[in-house]
Symmetry: C2
Subunit: 144 residues, 2 copies
C-alpha cells in the first residue's frame, strides 16, 4: 500500500520544475544532482512524464526538460498515473477474473474497496503542484 520510489522521484522532479520560472529548461543531470536521484533512473522517469504530457523534453545541446503545463494544471494523480499506471488498490479491481470466487459482480468486498479507491483517487486529483511549495514561486512568476 505504498507509492513506489519512482513516483516519489517523479514528485520531486515535478515539484522542482514547478519552482522554476515558467518554461525554464533544465538538463536531467542537474536535476539528478540537485534531487539526489540516480541519473539513469531519473531519465527513465522523465520519459514517462513526457509521454504523459506533464513535461516537455528538448534534445540536443542546451536541451533538457521543462513542465508542459502550469503547475496548477498538474495533479498528484497525473504524476502517479504517468509512473505507475492507474490506481488500483486491490487485485480484484484490476481484473475481476482474479477474484477467484468469480464474485466480482455481487461481492460486497469488491464494492467497498472500489468506493474507497475512488475517494483515494479523488484526493490525489485534488492536489496540484501550485498548491505545493514549488507552486508559490511559479504563481508569483506568473504575476499575481
Amino acid at each position: 500500500m505504498r507509492l513506489s520510489q519512482a513516483t516519489d522521484y517523479a514528485f520531486r522532479a515535478v515539484l522542482f520544475l514547478s519552482s522554476l520560472p515558467r518554461g525554464q529548461v533544465v538538463e536531467a543531470k542537474l536535476m539528478a544532482e540537485e534531487l539526489k536521484i540516480p541519473l539513469r533512473f531519473l531519465l527513465k522517469i522523465l520519459r514517462l512524464l513526457t509521454r504523459a504530457g506533464i513535461t516537455e523534453s528538448y534534445q540536443g545541446l542546451n536541451g533538457g526538460y521543462a513542465l508542459a503545463r502550469a503547475p496548477g494544471d498538474i495533479s498528484l494523480l497525473d504524476v502517479i498515473e504517468a509512473v505507475e499506471g492507474p490506481v488500483k488498490i486491490n487485485r480484484c479491481l484490476i481484473a475481476p477474473e482474479e477474484c477467484n470466487r468469480r464474485a466480482a459482480s455481487y461481492c460486497p468486498m469488491h464494492k467497498t474497496l472500489f468506493s474507497i479507491q475512488q475517494s483515494l483517487i479523488e484526493e490525489f486529483r485534488k492536489r496540484n503542484f501550485a498548491d505545493l511549495g514549488g507552486g508559490d514561486r511559479a504563481k508569483n512568476a506568473e504575476g499575481r
Copy 2:
C-alpha cells in the same frame, strides 16, 4: 499502491467467519478449500489475525479459528494493519530520514501526502465486516 494478496486473503477469511453464527469454530483446511487459498499461506495469515486479536485459535482435535469479536467491531483497517502493518503511502512517511533532502519538516509534499494518507486510513476504519455481506447473517444471528 495496492493491497497485498495476503491482505485480500485475510479479508476473505474474516468475511467468511463473519458469515457464520457467532463463535463458530472452523478448521483452516476447510476455509482454505472454500476460499481457494493455499492452506499453509492461510495458516500464516490466520496467525497474524489471531495475534492482532481479530480471530481466536483453538488447538488440538476439533480445533480451528473463530472471530474474536463481533463483525461490526472489525474494520478493514484492523485487518490491513494486522497483515501489512501500518498504512504508509510513501517512504518519507515511514522514516523521515529516507527523505534524502532531509526536508520532512517543511517539505510540502510531505504534508500533503500525510493528509491524503490520513483520509485513506479513515476510509478503511469506517468500514466493518457487519456492513459487508457476511455481516447480514451475523446480525440476524444476534437477533434483531
